[in-house]
């Protein structure tokens, strides 16, 4: 098989100050295939990718090995010759599309610069070709766009420009290093769709490096798993997901499909929020940003409500309003029979023991000068060493970790400490604000297990805020979807994940990349995608906020404010046409 490989890497070793990040690695990429390369942080994926392009950054050094691309050993070439191959025979797609464009140079100049690096073109010829390329990408008014700066074009356009630049000179192999980390799910799916389609059309192979097994399952033909600088498993995608050959992938996939432990049925909810609102006044313009808009939600004892939505949907603000870390502008937060929104400060402080929060980045949330024992002791009423030890054991930390400071712990262990601090005061509800987003996939699995375990033992309720739909699916009993400060759909995990009804929830979940190759996005017919991008939450329309992007919008959607309507199956959606289809009769809107 190595004979017909497009790229064949043999015995590649890259070391940083004598420590090997990639050691003796062998890998083949076949022509035209999308090969997924996965592995935990620090497995050496990025180091490998940069080494293939000869861009290893000091103090890293390629010690030995070959990387033969169509008969040429890239690593044996002198730098000047290798530079000529970069972009022409082997290209790179880096993280975040906008970050890959210099903010101080026009789009046209940047495309022209790449063209001129490979083709004998004069400046005006390159400029003319750039405009042509932008026209082919479907950008309207390409002459004007060529003179625009990256911040003046939309994120979607920046994506297309980036892909066009990377494949412009027709490279046979594209190396994509976490090309979508930090992007929202719908944008991520659009980017990967575009990348896969363009690569297929150009006949280029893609080496797609990502920690997200969902991306691998949905886009890759084959998978390779890297660990400690070596390939530990390799195989066709379907076979790989059916029976992962290595411990790392087995651990990650162990949570797949496993539903969270059922919540105890209880009539009276622990928390009931009605009509929660928060506005921020923008400095300078005098305009207001409606961050949270008439949010209603309820959480029962021992239940997890997953709150999902893309950046700027207001989910973090909801979490902070519940603890009154931000003051709500309106609404009611009924918790254990009292309205938190109206509690006087003294009583609020006492009630806060019962509602705790865990933040995204444990490094920011833990005092770096305190030891773990001091951090936990602070959260207790009395500094009781026995209780501290008990808490550490409960979150799976070693007794020896008590004397450590946060910097001496791994990110996963820091987040465990953060959770231990939250449960120290014996809360009834914990707001988990993206607690797994800053962690490696392996640490994420550990935290999900821990959260399930704590809930089973202590009966704690969670509000789990995340944009990572896989983790939400693993933890939540019920799920609420937010869009522009409003909840647009709320229902059980199965209802929202299996058959979402609100058009936005449908689009969001269509973009969800589950680690399951049986429903690959590449094979699915394109779902009802929404047009354009999320508008700014300033100057919102009077009617439905989605009307401008919704493929099923009716004329009355634009003028009628939408209310959350209960459907017969128990879920709630903020979409009148869809509710009518489900058999809900429109009732006259109260004046």
């Amino acid at each position: 098989m190595p004979g017909d490989a497009l790229l064949s890497v043999r015995g590649l070793t890259v070391a940083f100050n004598g420590v090997a990040a990639v050691s003796d690695l062998d890998l083949d990429v076949m022509p035209g295939e999308i090969l997924g390369l996965t592995g935990d942080s620090g497995a050496g994926k990025s180091t490998l990718g940069l080494a293939l392009l000869g861009l290893t950054r000091p103090p890293g050094r390629i010690l030995r090995g070959r990387a033969v691309l169509e008969g040429t050993d890239l690593l044996a070439l002198p730098e000047a010759a290798r530079r000529r191959l970069r972009g022409r025979r082997i290209g790179l797609i880096v993280q975040s599309p906008r970050g890959a464009l210099s903010p101080l140079h026009t789009i046209g100049a940047q495309i022209g610069g790449v063209l001129r690096a490979h083709l004998p073109l004069s400046r005006p010829e390159a400029a003319a070709r750039s405009v042509g390329l932008l026209r082919r990408l479907g950008l309207n008014d390409p002459e004007r766009r060529a003179g625009a700066y990256p911040h003046e074009i939309s994120g979607g356009m920046a994506q297309r420009v980036l892909i066009a630049m990377a494949v412009g000179a027709g490279p046979r192999l594209l190396v994509a290093d976490e090309p979508t980390s930090g992007l929202d799910v719908t944008i991520q799916a659009a980017f990967l769709d575009e990348l896969a389609a363009t690569a297929r059309a150009a006949g280029s192979a893609v080496l797609l490096m990502t920690q997200d097994l969902g991306i691998i399952a949905n886009y890759c033909d084959r998978v390779a798993v890297m660990q400690g600088g070596r390939i530990v498993a390799e195989g066709a995608t379907r076979a790989f997901f059916a029976a992962p050959a290595d411990d790392y992938s087995r651990t990650l996939l162990s949570l797949r499909q496993a539903a969270p432990p059922p919540a105890p049925a209880e009539a009276a909810p622990l928390l009931r929020v009605t009509g929660l609102c928060k506005r921020f006044r923008l400095r300078g313009s005098g305009k207001t940003l409606q961050a949270v808009n008439r949010v209603d939600l309820a959480i029962a004892r021992g239940e997890t409500l997953g709150l999902v939505g893309e950046s700027g949907s207001g989910k973090t603000t909801v979490g902070r309003l519940l603890l009154r870390l931000l003051e709500p502008d309106g609404g009611e937060i009924l918790f254990e029979g009292r309205d938190l929104a109206r509690l006087p400060p003294g009583e609020l402080r006492r009630t806060r023991r019962r509602v705790q929060i865990v933040f995204q980045d444990p490094q920011d949330a833990l005092d770096p000068r305190w030891t773990a024992a001091e951090i936990l002791g602070e959260a207790l009423e009395r500094r009781d060493p026995a209780r501290v030890a008990e808490l550490l054991a409960l979150v799976g930390l070693e007794p020896g970790d008590a004397a450590r400071r946060p910097r001496g712990l791994s990110a996963g262990a820091q987040q465990r400490l953060s959770i231990a601090r939250a449960i120290a005061a014996d809360p009834a509800l914990i707001v988990l604000d993206e607690p797994t987003s800053a962690l490696t996939p392996l640490a994420r699995v550990g935290i999900v297990r821990l959260l399930r375990d704590i809930q089973a033992r202590l009966g704690t309720s969670y509000l789990f805020i995340s944009h990572d739909l896989n983790t939400v699916e693993q933890l939540s009993h019920r799920v609420a979807v937010m869009y522009l400060g409003q909840i647009v759909e709320q229902g059980t995990r199965e209802q929202v994940f299996r058959a979402p009804r609100h058009p936005y929830a449908r689009a969001l979940l269509a973009a969800h990349l589950a680690p399951d190759p049986s429903r690959r996005r590449l094979d699915r017919p394109p779902a009802a995608a929404l047009e354009g991008e999320i508008p700014s939450p300033v100057d919102l329309p009077r009617g439905c906020y989605l009307a401008g992007r919704c493929p099923e919008a009716r004329p009355d959607c634009r003028s009628t404010p939408q209310r959350l309507l209960g459907l017969p199956d128990g879920r709630e959606i903020r979409c009148l046409p869809e509710a009518e289809r489900a058999g809900v009769l429109p009732d006259p809107i109260p004046a």
């Binding site: 000091p58 530079r83 022409r88 790179l92 880096v94 993280q95 970050g99 903010p103 101080l104 610069g113």
Partner: protein
């Protein structure tokens, strides 16, 4: 763009008015008696009162302020562009400042431009290989140069280049006493001598500028190199530089892209540095006997020459604000994200 400039100019004007107010009253709060200073301690009471009247210090403070601003009938003040007359020399302050300010501006502007030209390539070389030999050498230099005061470096350079090697002229002013100064047009000796076609004066002017500029550049380059290096390291680690490399752009072109991105944010800091150095110019002027605005300011303060002090503070502030504005405009021209 025009809106931006006029807004900035209006803000600067408000700042200057506030400054004029504060300076005027603050110096009158000092426990000092400028009249006694002027007439001497042994002067008669009559002589004292006459002097006080002639300085206008017998009038109420509000009235003094009114005539300083030029709002009282028959008075000539700031509104008329008149800083008043120096109490020491009796000459118009504006005229005196017109004589001393160009000397300082010439020195520090030339030093600034040269330091920038030296530091940018140096910072880039350091940034290309952080921790490399060039980086370490530059770090040692900036620590060494910055840890000792500039008047000390000035003295050391005078010793080496004038006393020992004889390459530099005596540190006694802006021109050789034997050479004919060019007719004053701008006040900048180099510019005026070129305008007059007086090449002898030009060479002499540059020659005398050599050591003070060397001292300034030597001390100034440290922080600028550091700033350029820092920005450059950040830019070289960015995704767009990586993408440019992966697209096969030549190292030269990548360096140009990176430099623009590294320099744009550094411009604002240069403005701060310029204002700071303008305020501290007296040290270098004293060492090289250059009668610049720094020396003038110190002389005025020591003599309780109120009109001169007020004028010096306002002029230095105005120059600093103008430099900020120019650099901000340059920054906006480089970085389109700042406009609008």
């Amino acid at each position: 763009m025009i809106g931006f400039v006029s807004r900035r100019l209006a803000t600067a004007l408000v700042q200057l008015v506030g400054l004029a107010l504060v300076v005027f009253f603050a110096i009158r709060l000092l426990p000092a008696d400028p009249v006694a200073r002027l007439v001497g301690l042994n002067a008669s009471r009559d002589a004292y009162l006459t002097a006080q009247r002639s300085l206008g210090l017998d009038r109420p403070v509000a009235e003094q302020f009114g005539s300083y601003l030029g709002v009282l009938p028959g008075s000539s003040g700031l509104l008329q562009g008149d800083f008043g007359r120096s109490w020491v020399t009796g000459d118009p302050v504006a005229q005196e400042i017109g004589r001393v300010l160009p000397i300082t501006l010439e020195l520090i502007t030339v030093s600034f431009v040269l330091a920038f030209l030296v530091s940018v390539p140096l910072g880039m070389i350091c940034a290309i290989r952080p921790g490399g030999a060039a980086d370490r050498a530059t770090f040692a230099y900036s620590l060494f140069a910055g840890s000792q005061p500039e008047f000390w470096w000035g003295l050391l350079f005078i010793f080496v280049f004038f006393a020992e090697l004889g390459w530099a002229p005596a540190p006694l002013g802006r021109l050789d006493p034997m050479s004919t100064p060019p007719a004053v047009v701008t006040g900048f000796i180099t510019v005026d001598s070129l305008l007059a076609g007086n090449m002898a004066a030009f060479r002499d002017g540059v020659h005398h500028l050599m050591l003070p500029v060397l001292t300034k550049v030597f001390v100034l380059s440290g922080p600028i190199v550091k700033m350029v290096r820092q920005n450059m390291v950040r830019v070289m680690a960015s995704d767009y530089v990586l993408f440019a490399q992966a697209s096969g752009l030549t190292p030269g072109r990548i360096a140009r892209i990176a430099l623009k991105n590294a320099l744009a944010p550094a411009l604002t800091l240069l403005g701060v540095l310029y204002g700071y150095i303008l305020g501290g110019a007296v040290l270098i002027e004293t060492v090289f006997s250059l009668g610049g605005i720094g020396s003038y300011a110190v002389r005025s303060v020591l003599a309780f020459d109120y009109p001169a002090i007020q004028a010096v503070v306002l002029v230095i502030a105005a120059v600093s604000l103008l430099v900020y504005l120019v650099l901000d405009l340059l920054h906006a021209a480089l970085d389109p994200r700042l406009v609008g």
